[in-house]
């Protein structure tokens, strides 16, 4: 067999020299490509525009009314007076109810997610029922959660607690910080469950196998390998839950929020004032809308900042954990 030279095995040069010399410009304007890229871009920018409008409107109108006095004062009964009012009790109430909710919702949500992903057989009827329940829970209107909280937590749990503790006056069987927090916890449970489940599922099967092959029990594997890995995802669930809960008013309407309180809540069985509900009160109950408008804007701005701050805490913890996971020592 004799060797071929390149000129023998390469195809002959094309006579058509225009093939590569002509420029690559499209021959005609592609309308549909242009249209759809424009449409998708416009839809995306619409979101940005809406958000910017809201934030700018609130920021500009609210900023001027915010002062140290405003955020540090417990208002008198007539809190529609822009010069003397403050929102300290609302900041405290909203913060505490969100924090207490987080303390309840994270463990329950995480444990449920662990059961669903690590223990339950995927195809069993029970698992399917639980999953359907979680998904439907996420779709229940928030006012229904409020009514549930009133019926279950206050009228059932609270009243019975009073009976057991022999309280002569209603202590637990009335709207309270703890019931509002628990109602919010029930509402945000699906968010935490789904986020945790996703992060558990994302952990490579190889890590679980490695642990089990070393003679670890399932529980040891979950506690030592799976959960530490899932922590950022769990915190994401917490962040979403906090975001959702901070601004919700409907679930706390019957379960703990007060129109007015002369002092800060000091006990979990106390009622509390709330930023979101206060916005509603300011905008519907004011005797003089024009005078109330600046403090209404300012209250909304405080609510936004508070929500952002609560999120920021979780985001910082999460990024700290991620950094640790990357650079372990």
């Amino acid at each position: 067999m004799n060797t071929l030279t390149p000129s023998e095995y390469l195809p002959e040069k094309s006579a058509d020299t225009t093939r590569f010399t002509r420029n690559f410009r499209a021959e005609k304007f592609d309308f549909w490509s242009f249209f759809f890229s424009g449409l998708t871009g416009a839809a995306t920018w619409l979101i940005v525009a809406i958000l910017a409008t809201i934030l700018l409107n609130i920021g500009i109108n609210g900023w001027s009314a915010i002062s140290w006095h405003f955020v540090s004062t417990i208002p008198k009964k007539d809190f529609f007076d822009a010069n003397t009012t403050g929102v300290l009790p609302m900041i405290v109430g909203t913060s505490i109810r969100v924090i207490v909710m987080t303390i309840f919702v994270i463990p329950v949500g995480v444990i449920t997610a662990i059961y669903l992903t690590e223990y339950a057989a995927n195809t069993s009827l029970l698992t399917r029922i639980i999953r359907a329940a979680v998904n439907n829970l996420a779709g229940v209107p928030s006012i229904v959660f409020g009514l549930f909280g009133l019926g279950f937590f206050i009228n059932f749990v609270g009243k019975n607690l009073d009976k057991i503790l022999h309280n002569t006056d209603a202590v637990w069987g009335q709207p309270a910080l703890v019931w509002a927090s628990l109602t919010l916890a029930v509402m945000t449970l699906p968010v935490v469950i789904v986020a945790t489940e996703e992060s558990l599922k994302a952990i490579p099967a190889g890590l679980r196998e490695a642990s089990l092959a070393l003679g670890a029990t399932k529980l040891q594997t979950i506690l030592r390998v799976v959960l530490p890995q899932a922590l950022p995802g769990i915190l994401t669930g917490g962040i979403l839950a906090v975001s959702r809960a901070a601004g919700e008013v409907a679930p706390i309407l019957f379960t703990g929020v007060a129109y007015y309180m002369a002092s800060l809540p000091s006990h979990l069985s106390d009622q509390f004032m709330d930023l979101g509900y206060h916005v509603f009160v300011l905008s519907t109950q004011s005797p003089n809308i024009e005078q109330t408008r600046p403090i209404l804007y300012a209250t909304v701005l405080v609510l936004l900042i508070l929500t952002f701050a609560l999120n920021l805490v979780a985001v910082l913890i999460r990024s700290n954990i991620r950094k640790k996971m990357r650079s372990m020592h």
């Binding site: 190889g206 490695a210 070393l214 003679g215 670890a216 372990m328």
Partner: protein, 271 residues
Amino acid sequence: MAEITMPKMNLPGTATTVSASAPLIAIENLSLYYGASKALKNISLGLGEKVVTAFIGPSGCGKSTLLRCLNRMNDLIDNVRIEGSCKIGGHDIYAKDVDAIELRKRVGMVFQKSNPFPKSIYENVAYGLRLHGMKAKSELDAVVEKSLRGAALWDEVKDRLHSSALGLSGGQQQRLCIARAIAIRPEIILMDEPASALDPLATARIEELILELKKEFTIVIVTHNMQQAARISDYTAFFYIGELIEFDTTAKIFTNPSKRQTEDYVTGRFG
């Protein structure tokens, strides 16, 4: 009772023949079903102590499945049913009173894809030790070092024991997984294609290591690489579609197999 295939060892230089009467691992008439499909068909096989046995065969022949029977990793999969028996040191590992957790302490495993925990190098090796109750730092330090030396990794990592295991190269990660496995002193180490994702140099290091480990451990290795099986194993079992076709000394399998199918496979005519 099924006959246990245990060939006489007649390689030069290996005068100590493994007793044919009591192999360390005795698999008898083992069948495994995934749901209704039978993935392993009446496998009978006896594996000796402190030798390397290679399982070879085309993909889907059941060699990994059989390997995972030996530390009951198949238990973790739904719908798996096992018939027949598998004895290690005379004890049926599928008997009702056997704790798979205890079994896995004695039968370690190294996986195809290196799977170090996202922890430090030190913590990876110490993981199994801590699980089984070792707490004293001096003791942990000693075993971690010994295991890393045993896995021929110590010199490369001794200065960064507390940095992430994920920063190691693929070959180093796999040797770390071996160190992790040997740290808890199993008797048997199962290796599921431990070098298939590694480059030739890293593969060579793993192979050297296996030959070294054989002095202390019984090793069963699944491999797709026939040269690898020939280089490192004392015995080779050839599987095809769930059946054990032939089991013999590696020398015999690769030079003078008794079955036509084996010959076709090891010479590369199919598979």
